[in-house]
Symmetry: C2
């Protein structure tokens, strides 16, 4: 396991986007922005069940993430990682609400498109961390 | 070939970062920020010969790119694409200088680390474009 330093943790816990690369079924890469988060050791990505990145991570746990500090776009953290766990239910719902509050000021996440949308937290263990 | 619309072209020709995902030799994804650019049809990525993303694109042309508008981070363009050409020499040197001017105000790119650094432009044909 590679370690996130204090500055990387601060950026990951700030109002910043993380660009998450996953692998499609044919092995080609996919990349999308997600709200950045970390528990101090792992990256936490909250998405909805059924989305491309969710299906990709469920099938192949290898991911890469790049995060820039929106206040200083020349500070960058790149993380190679492996999905170690996925959490659904209340934990994932509470987590997306806390991210919604951080990013939008709204205590309840408004982005749900369907009433039966299931949120999922992917816990990503860093295997390599680079700062630039 | 998928088409970039006017708004996507504007964001790609603005002072924005593109997050480029490539494939490592073992098939795992790699992602790094690059200065965004387009000729109106293709994405243009300027990097240095020998870097990880350069070796990755030379080996496997499949890439994915995600770009957000720094002025409006909730406008996002994602592009799946294929590397169709790579250009070295004066074209690539002039191109990095023009990007340097756009992004930093400096007419000569200052980022060269070694005097013998070779710049390369990768011409990426979009195969799928999504806006969000």
């Amino acid at each position: 396991m590679a370690r996130l330093n204090k500055k990387a943790i601060k950026v990951l816990q700030g109002k910043n986007f993380a660009f998450l690369a996953t692998l499609n079924p044919d092995g080609s890469p996919q990349v999308t922005p997600v709200w950045a988060d970390t528990d101090g050791k792992n990256l936490l990505v909250n998405t909805a069940a059924g989305r491309v990145k969710e299906r990709n991570m469920a099938r192949d746990p290898r991911v890469a993430v790049s995060i820039i500090d929106m206040k200083n776009p020349y500070y960058m953290v790149s993380v190679d990682g492996v999905v170690r766990a996925s959490l659904k239910g209340k934990k994932a719902d509470d987590h997306i609400d806390s991210l919604s509050f951080r990013f939008t000021g709204q205590k309840k996440y408004q982005g749900r498109r369907t009433p039966d949308e299931q949120r999922v937290i992917f816990v990503i263990e860093p295997t390599k961390v680079r700062e630039q």
